[in-house]
């Protein structure tokens, strides 16, 4: 017989046999079944022979024929793996350039994801440090509000006493109440947000002591401070036993520091700065008329159910509500400490802690995922290219008898090594560079503590395995499935892997485009927001708040005699510092709008632009409490046509006449859309602050000068002097933070994409180096060579531009709309700039290689063969 037989036994059965059969029996057994097959083929035909063959194989699947692993074989495997590691290290060293690109790319991506992990983890496990976590609750309740039911985190003090007296199952409890108390330490006076708590507080929550005793709060005349407060009051010295005078109500009282707590590294909802026994608030409460409400934490006794506590607490409500008809409690709800911060947004007033910003977390996670994907693509691309250089090695190993799985294992191990290096570098990078930078932008205090952070280890392990597999499997499979015959005949076709590489590179370029557009847009938006027209003249204006009513005349006199003060108006609301939404009614139309109480002269001095009607007239007392000056959005929202002879609108039960309409002005930072805003005139006697128009000059020097002057009038009581133009600075700074994150992301994405491109081009060039040599000999100049390299990547860039830019417009406008109320539209300009940046960097990258090609001497490259 010659050539291949026409029919062959079923492959799967044959493979199955080869897989399970003992090596020493395989040849004989396989030979027998094959012989039987051909015998039956002649006798009964293909179908029947195949069936019989399969049956034979299955029948032969007996214990005595099945392969068994011997111990010796395993030892051999260990040796083999050790060898793989050795070869892997050598290969990494031999291919320094691609390895460096890979490691660097992966390290940056890993560093980003470590930062994102740290940030998100801390958010997610906020407050988890407390040992009694499972038993700690914030007592909240639902109450009937005007229009709906709301949740309140504050509990009435009297109700707290009743709960403690009658509800069983509470092991420990503490109130939690902030009060700004005057503080005097060694003669220096200031004021401090002090936290008033019960004596159980330090025991139910878990805190660490620097010095002193956890029982300190059981002594009413002792206070507990944390390291920050210790630094502020006592400097380097430990404050234990020293005195702090606190002014609670109108009374100064002397306290001694009983304990100093460690600053919390993890984020926590509990703000310990200066802790004082709640008794002192009780005294204040007895003196004051109003019944104070406070946050109230309880720790249940082990085994007590939430429902039991709640039903016992709810039983107290009917009696309580009878005495308090204004804000009746509907029912209690216990908020576990685990979810307290996350659910803070549900609690209208008196929430403790704040929910992590899901948006920020999402953006962070998305960015680090971007990076990881980019780096993985980089890796796959460069690996695929590198494999072409290692064809001979693969061929030889296969001929010697390496199995596909063994080859794949070797490539995966090399990949694992590389990823491990990248991980090491990534941890270093994030702890030394990225985290500090991120802390600066985001205002965190994240550090990496590998020794005491099992969760981080778990994360690192998981991401190591993920990246190893995600980046390594495809190249390993490709590498191990080449046939030695095609390799040695030099007939290897790399069309498929080249297609894959191009797809990945395109994807990288698209991602880079998106991030660049994002960065450009954020830069532009921030710039336009900073130069925003506020709708009034905010320059040369200063706000002054009164310590209390008794200072009104003395302050006014002092300010009026100040030569720098050109003009002044008294007011209650200061535009830009607070919001005050109320519902207004125009017949059936009901809309919420801002409602500001201002002095008669305030709108004029503010400099809002009048559209129709008039501003308040200081000589008309009738304007007070009756008239409104509204903005254009107000009229639009309430569907009112302005008529100078009389336009009215209803708020609550009062009917106001609208006397003037002004252009929309920014009463809040531009992250909020301007809605209706109404100014109501109030009498001078109700004003709590002044608005000053200053002469031209250094506004900050003027502010200091005014502050010094007023300090002489009110040395003890606090007041504030602020520059109006600085109003939105916090917002702008925050937005600059986001912009910086975007710039950073774009830079990294571009860097990764450029590295990927560089790696591919350089491998491409070095594998076609003879080609270039021949071309040079035939007279190609630098431009021709550049063209041939560039042409190879033209589709990548085309796709990146034509897919990336629409995608970017889609995504980025969404993001901008989420963050800003006003932003410039993504026009042709920003897109053009973005594409220019992308192409510029890409060309520069390719140019490095082109220069290399230009410089080579064709004689050197062509001499080798």
């Amino acid at each position: 017989m010659s050539g291949q037989p026409k029919h062959q036994p079923p492959k799967w059965a044959d493979r199955f046999l080869a897989w399970y059969c003992r090596k020493d029996l395989l040849e004989q057994i396989q030979g027998d079944v094959h012989e039987l097959y051909y015998w039956r083929l002649e006798e009964k035909g293909h179908a029947s022979a195949s069936k019989a063959f399969a049956w034979d194989v299955l029948r032969l699947f007996r214990w005595s024929n099945i392969k068994k692993k011997s111990k010796r074989q395993k030892l051999n495997n260990m040796g083999m793996f050790k060898n793989y590691f050795k070869i892997g290290m050598r290969n990494l060293w031999k291919q320094r350039m691609p390895s460096t690109i890979n490691i660097l790319g992966l390290a940056i991506a890993l560093a980003c994801s470590i930062v994102a992990f740290k940030w998100i983890e801390l958010d997610h496990y906020k407050d988890y440090v407390h040992e009694n976590l499972d038993d700690l609750y914030l007592v909240t309740h639902w109450e009937e509000l005007e229009t709906n039911t709301g949740r309140n985190g504050l509990t009435d003090n009297q109700l707290i006493d009743e709960i403690l007296a009658s509800v069983p199952g509470i092991a420990q409890h503490s109130k939690y109440y902030f009060y700004r108390a005057g503080t005097k330490v060694a003669g220096r006076e200031s004021s401090t947000f002090s936290l008033f708590v019960d004596e159980d507080y330090l025991k139910m929550f878990t805190f660490q002591l620097v010095a002193g005793s956890m029982d300190a709060l059981s002594q009413p005349d002792q206070v507990v401070i944390n390291e920050d407060a210790n630094g502020r009051f006592f400097g380097q010295e430990l404050g234990i036993g020293k005195t702090i005078d606190l002014k609670i109500g109108d009374e100064w009282k002397e306290f001694t520091v009983g304990a100093v707590l460690k600053n919390r590294k993890e984020r926590s909802s509990m703000q310990n700065y200066l802790l004082v026994n709640y008794q002192h608030i009780n005294r204040l409460r007895q003196e004051a008329v109003a019944n104070v409400s406070t946050n109230f934490f309880i720790q249940r006794q082990p085994g007590v159910k939430e429902a039991q506590l709640l039903s016992a607490m709810d039983e107290l409500l009917p009696i309580h509500n009878k005495d308090n008809e204004v804000n009746p409690y509907r029912n209690f709800e216990l908020e576990s400490l685990k979810t307290m911060a996350r659910n803070a947004y549900q609690i209208g007033s008196g929430s403790v802690g704040s929910a992590p910003s899901a948006e920020a977390n999402l953006i962070l996670a998305a960015i680090s995922l971007f990076m990881v994907v980019l780096a993985i693509f980089n890796y796959i691309n460069i690996s695929l290219a590198m494999i072409m250089k290692r064809m001979k090695e693969i061929g030889v190993r296969k001929v010697i008898g390496s199995k596909k799985s063994q080859l794949a294992a070797q490539f995966l191990i090399e990949n694992f090594l590389l990823t491990s290096f990248a991980l090491l570098l990534g941890v270093l990078l994030s702890s030394s560079l990225l985290l500090p930078a991120f802390n600066k932008v985001a205002g965190g205090s994240l550090t990496i503590d590998l020794l005491h952070h099992p969760r981080l280890w778990m994360f690192l392990g998981a991401i190591l395995i993920f990246i190893t597999l995600a980046s390594g499997i495809y190249p390993a499979i490709v590498a191990s499935s080449y046939k030695p015959t095609t390799i040695f005949r030099n007939k290897v076709s790399n069309t498929r892997s080249r297609t894959v590489s191009s797809v990945f590179l395109t994807f990288q370029m698209i991602l880079a485009t998106i991030t660049i557009v994002a960065a450009v847009m954020f830069v532009l938006t921030n710039r336009s927001n900073r130069s925003l027209d506020w709708g009034y003249n905010q320059y040369n204006k200063i706000r002054v708040s009164l310590p209390d009513d008794s200072f009104r005349e003395s302050f006014r006199a002092a300010l009026e005699s100040n030569p720098n003060v050109v003009d002044l108006a008294s007011t209650n609301s200061q535009i830009g510092t607070s919001l005050n939404g109320w519902q207004f009614k125009n017949g059936e139309v009901k809309k919420y709008a801002e409602f500001f109480d201002v002095g008669l002269r305030y709108p004029d001095l503010l400099g809002v632009e009048l559209v129709a009607g008039r501003l308040f007239d200081p000589s008309l007392k009738g304007d007070i409490k009756n008239s409104l000056v509204v903005n254009e959005s107000f009229l639009k929202a309430l569907k009112i046509e302005f008529d100078p002879d009389g336009t009215t609108v209803v708020q609550d039960t009062t009917t106001y006449s609208i006397i003037g309409v002004v252009k929309d002005y920014y009463y809040w930072a531009p992250d909020q859309r301007i809605r209706g805003a109404a100014l109501r005139a109030i009498p001078e006697s109700e004003c709590t602050s002044f608005y000053l128009d200053m002469a031209d000059g250094d506004i900050y020097a003027q502010r200091e000068q005014i502050r010094d002057e007023l300090n002489k009038i009110s040395p003890d009581k606090g007041f504030s002097v602020s520059v109006q133009a600085d109003l939105f600075n916090d917002f702008f700074d925050e937005m600059d933070g986001i912009r910086n994150v975007m710039l950073f992301t774009a830079a990294i994405a571009l860097f990764l994409a450029a590295m990927g491109l560089y790696g591919l081009v350089s491998i491409n060039v070095s594998s076609h180096i003879k080609n270039f040599g021949v071309r040079k000999v035939l007279g190609a100049n630098g431009l021709d060579l550049a063209k041939s390299i560039l042409m190879r990547y033209r589709f990548v860039f085309l796709f990146a531009v034509f897919i990336g830019t629409p995608l970017a417009v889609l995504l980025i406008s969404q993001l901008l709309a989420d963050i800003y109320a006003y932003y410039p539209s993504i026009g042709f300009g920003p897109l053009f700039i973005s594409i220019l940046i992308l192409l510029g960097v890409s060309l520069l990258t390719i140019n490095v290689q082109i220069q290399k090609v230009r410089r080579i001497n064709p004689a050197d490259t062509l001499r080798t063969e």
């Binding site: 017989m1 040849e27 004989q28 030979g31 027998d32 079944v33 051909y38 029948r59 007996r62 005595s64």
Partner: protein, 112 residues
């Protein structure tokens, strides 16, 4: 008597066939010969099992032989009868004949 000195009916037949086939005694050969000579169709797995057992008991020995095209170039394992095997066959035969002799011509048997 140890167990090794007993052989079953199939073992006896295959042992005989190994002896009969001489140089051509390998698993598939045995299988085909069995079919030709006795009409019994065995599966290859059973043949292998019996041959292995016989080899363990020391009645046959084996060695790898030459390759053929039908087998995709794989070699055959050829079995040869050992002295012990031959002795076993003789012993089985003599027992049979002795018993057969005692049967005589006037043995009673049922027609049904």
């Amino acid at each position: 008597m140890s167990k090794g000195n007993h052989i079953g009916e199939l073992e006896e037949l295959i042992l005989l066939l190994v002896g009969v086939l001489r140089d051509e005694a390998y698993a598939v050969g045995v299988l085909q010969e069995m079919k030709d000579q006795t009409g019994r169709e065995l599966n290859i797995s059973a043949v292998h099992a019996v041959l292995n057992r016989l080899e363990e008991k020391g009645f046959v020995t084996s060695e790898m032989g030459g390759a053929t095209q039908e087998r995709g170039g794989r070699r055959k394992r050829f079995y040869t009868l050992t002295a012990a095997g031959r002795q076993m066959i003789d012993q089985v035969r003599s027992v049979r004949e002795k018993l057969y002799g005692q049967l005589g011509t006037n043995a009673i048997y049922s027609i049904a």
